[in-house]
């Protein structure tokens, strides 16, 4: 393996002082980044740290505002992906750039078709692809239509597409985000094969395990800046995690001992099937009491979104029951659920939680616009709406020129505060909060955390879904780990650790099903 003796050589690619601005954001802030020939280089950082932006600059998709890129020590401009391809740089995007109705071969060759007088030579293309795929150790049917293939296979097609263009440098953007554990295993194999063939690989990730397993070196980004490059052998997950978040990871929110009261919600045997009949939410039961925070930890896409959206009336369960203080709210209408005192901070701020072309006031009543205090049978009570909104803007310290400003001109943190303000202003008994601090700045995070804990202290219940383990552990009382739609472990927040939850989140361990159910329903012993 070429790991040990390459650090002192000149880097193959060097990016210096890269700046990239988007409206309102400095996505890359004088970033330096370099890659050695033949290495596997991980680029890590939280969501929004600027990793993808940097790579899109390198690949010519974005034009940089300032900075210089050197390839083989020669300064050059990469003005579009074509130019990057000519340098031997290829990119596997997070959202695949494949044309679903076309065949595998057509997709791989697109833009570099094998043709005679403009007429496609599909036989030749097929042979070349079979050859290429066997080189790196997998089989593929060049004639299959991409839309019929699994995500894992599509990713391989993307890799083949890059190799077909004779790329020597492969950039992979969060390649494992969409893969099953088995598929991740075979991706590792492919990448190792590629390294042995002398290819250089840059992969973007926020999973530190992958960095440790796969990479030679790692560069960490935070808030648009690069905060350092390390040899993987000389660093640890803890060090990298600290570099990523820029503060002690064990930031714990002050949390008083909860005064647990009456049971607020009892959900039993919730199951939700998708169109294909697979269980997206699989036999989930839990209960939450007053003054209690019930956390759900899990990797994105394990059924959390569907669970919450069905609890709040956006979606429907296929079976199971939801009772809120003895009234049956199974698959109830969203309006009814709100009237029963259940608030919902959705995970997708912009595409669920608010309407960016609405004013602050209009957003402040979204979902509650039918409530008596905001509307009569026909008309909206515009003045009352505005008064309530103004009060909330003040109380929650939302930075906005006025309540008539369109929500789109607020910063992400203030948009999130607006949503939190809306939901908390209705005095819900139970608040369902999904990723309440995603993509907002540290100050806003602390504010949101404080407000949530205040609600807990007032005896409100909270169902918290987050992929940030720190957040889950520091805010929750009890924690369920969700994996493939199922609760597979129940933990007391005081007695667990990120490491333990992490193991469960990947599905590598699970507790006894009955035991989990019993704990989730908060039954002290089976006989109770």
């Amino acid at each position: 393996m070429a790991r040990d003796n390459q650090i002192d050589t000149d880097p193959l690619i060097r990016m210096e002082g890269i700046n990239k601005r988007f409206p309102g954001v400095l996505a890359n802030d004088s970033v330096d980044f370099s890659v050695q020939e033949g290495e596997i280089h991980a680029l890590v950082g939280e969501n929004g740290a600027g990793k993808t932006t940097l790579m899109k600059v390198l690949y010519g998709i974005y034009s940089k505002d300032e900075g210089q890129i050197y390839f083989d020590d020669k300064p050059l401009e990469i003005k579009d992906p074509k130019a990057a391809n000519e340098l031997g740089i290829g990119m596997v995007h997070q959202h695949f750039m494949l044309v679903p109705p076309l065949s595998v071969a057509d997709n791989i060759t697109l833009g570099r078709e094998i043709a005679k007088y403009g007429v496609l030579d599909r036989e030749e293309a097929k042979e070349r692809i079979l050859e290429l795929s066997s080189d790196i150790g997998f089989e593929i049917d060049p004639e299959a239509r991409v839309e019929d293939l699994s995500v894992g296979v599509r990713q391989r097609i993307e890799i083949l597409k890059v190799l077909f263009r004779e790329a020597e440098v492969l950039i992979l953007d969060e390649p494992t985000a969409v893969l099953t554990p088995q598929e991740v295993e075979s991706l590792y194999e492919i990448l190792n094969n590629l390294q042995e063939q002398g290819k250089t690989i840059i992969f973007i990730t926020h999973k530190l395990n992958e960095v440790m397993d796969l990479a030679d070196r790692v560069t960490v980004m935070r808030e648009g800046k690069d905060v350092g490059t390390k040899e993987v052998q000389e660093t640890s997950k803890n060090e990298l995690a600290n570099m990523m978040v820029g503060r002690e990871v064990l930031l714990r929110v002050e949390k008083e001992e909860a005064e647990k009261g009456e049971e607020l919600i009892r959900a039993e045997n919730l199951t939700l099937k998708n169109d294909e009949g697979a269980n997206i939410v699989d036999d989930i039961s839990f209960s939450i009491r007053e003054g209690e925070v019930f956390g759900i930890a899990g990797v994105q896409g394990n059924g959390q979104t569907e669970l919450i959206e069905a609890l709040t009336g956006i979606n429907e369960f296929s079976s199971g029951t939801v009772e809120v203080q003895n009234s049956d709210l199974t698959n109830a209408d969203g309006q009814v659920i709100r009237e029963e005192g259940i608030g919902h901070i959705p995970e997708d701020r912009l595409d669920r939680g608010m309407i960016t072309d609405f004013t602050v006031t209009e957003n402040f009543v979204l979902g509650y616009h039918t409530f008596e205090r905001y509307s009569s049978r026909i008309f909206m009570k515009l003045r009352d709406m505005d008064e309530h909104a103004k009060k909330a803007v003040e109380e929650f310290d939302i930075k906005t020129p006025s309540t008539k400003t369109l929500a789109e001109s607020l910063s992400g943190g203030n948009q999130q505060k607006l949503i939190v303000a809306r939901e908390l202003s209705q005095q819900p008994k139970l608040l369902i909060a999904a990723q309440p601090t995603r993509g907002i700045d540290v100050g806003a995070i602390e504010f949101v955390h404080e407000r949530l804990m205040k609600e807990r202290a007032r005896g409100k219940g909270l169902l918290l879904v987050s992929s940030e383990l720190d957040e889950i552990i520091s805010l929750s009382d009890r924690i369920a780990v969700i994996y493939e739609g199922e609760f597979i472990g129940m933990f007391d927040a005081n007695e667990t650790s990120k490491e333990e939850l992490g193991v469960y989140m990947t599905g590598s361990e699970r507790q006894d099903k009955e035991e989990v159910r019993r704990k989730a329903l908060d039954k002290v012993s089976p006989r109770e």
Binding site: G334, I355, H369
Partner: protein, 363 residues
């Protein structure tokens, strides 16, 4: 003034003021060039048009008479737009509504004014609403895109209306197929009868006032009612509307129905207003499609649409009158200009949008 509200102001001025004006100016410039090439002085031509329209109360009334139907078909487009829907079917909705309102007018002949008049309008609204609701329903239930279905519904309406008129209402002695005439109780009073400074007997009629009232009501509906809030939410972001517990399907169908209803009343100006008092299909062709131009030129705002409709009325009425003075310039020159306004407008709007975006990026 802070930077955000300054940006909002700039946005409004550019998109709602400058862009439509530039489009209109370019259309007049091109029209002028064409007129010059026919050996006519364009300034003489357009100033004659101006005096024909604005030189007398009679001219103004004629212009209003021509403008009125455009308001309704334009509102059909724009109202649907508010809910994120693209209703290209005003033409068909107009025909179905028109036949419905004529039918009520010549069937319930014993009813007095204004009862019959109002019933006719309701029938027109309902006819158009039905024709608009169908594509809405097909979109909600079967995912059929409303652009294509409304286009197809236009042609179905044209054939259907022709069939009904020809086979059920037509008297073979009439020569051209039209319906029987509506009863007097359905007549829309001439503006001359209501407003003193309009000439007596002008064809401009109360439908213009109905249009203004509807523009106001629409603003109230959209900005001040619960239904309007939900319609706008659905149009701006269906996912967030769904989160807010809004029934998107019902709002979609309802919006398409209201939208179609507007178009359904477009021909009331001709059928109920002073004139022939019957439904004559061939007289109305194209008003639905031109409404698209009027709606966009009015920037989908009811008040803007009144202005845009008046501009179209100005062009059309002017073209009819100006022929006497400049017989070598066919009046179809204004159709060309109307089309140019529309195509230039969409281009100018995009340029303005790009300019604003660059401005935003910089500051």
């Amino acid at each position: 003034m802070n930077s955000e509200s300054r940006r909002d102001l700039l946005f409004n001025v550019l998109m709602n003021g400058v862009a439509p004006l530039v489009a209109i100016l370019i259309a007049f410039a091109i029209g002028g060039i064409v007129i010059t090439s026919l050996g006519t002085n364009p300034f003489a031509f357009f100033s004659r048009m101006l005096s024909l329209n604005f030189g007398s109360m009679r001219g103004i009334s004629q212009m209003i008479y021509r403008a009125t139907p455009y308001f309704f078909t334009a509102m059909a487009l724009s109202f649907a737009f508010k809910a994120g829907l693209f209703n290209i079917g005003a033409e068909g909705q107009m025909f179905v509504g028109g036949l419905a309102l004529a039918w009520v007018g010549f069937t319930f002949t014993w009813l007095p004014f204004p009862i019959l008049f109002i019933l006719c309008l309701v029938a027109g609204f309902l006819g158009g609403a039905l024709w608009g609701a169908i594509p809405g329903y097909l979109k909600v239930k079967r995912g059929a895109h409303e652009v294509i279905t409304t286009i197809m519904m236009n042609f179905i309406a044209i054939a259907l209306v022709q069939y009904i008129v020809q086979n059920h209402f037509m008297n073979p002695d009439w020569g051209i197929p039209h319906t029987p005439t509506v009863a007097e109780g359905a007549y829309a009073p001439s503006l001359g009868k209501i407003i003193p400074w309009f000439p007596a007997g002008t064809r401009a009629n109360i439908m213009f006032l109905v249009a203004i009232i509807l523009a106001g009501l629409t603003l109230v509906l959209l900005q001040r009612t619960k239904l309007g809030y939900e319609i706008r939410a659905t149009g701006l972001n269906p996912n967030s509307a769904e989160y807010a517990g809004i029934n998107i399907s019902s709002r979609t169908v309802m919006t398409m129905a209201i939208s179609g209803g507007f178009a359904g009343m477009a021909t009331a100006n001709f059928i109920l207003g002073p004139g022939s008092h019957y439904f004559l299909k061939s007289e109305y062709g194209g008003i639905g499609f031109s409404g698209i131009a009027v709606g966009l030129l009015g920037r989908n705002n009811p008040l803007g649409i009144i202005l845009a409709a008046i501009l179209f009325g100005f062009l059309e009425n002017g073209a009819l009158g100006v022929q006497l003075y400049f017989p070598n310039v066919p009046r179809q020159i204004v159709e060309i200009m109307q089309a140019i306004i529309l195509i230039v407008l969409v281009i100018v709007l995009e340029i303005a949008r790009k300019f604003l975006k660059r401005l935003q990026k910089r500051g």
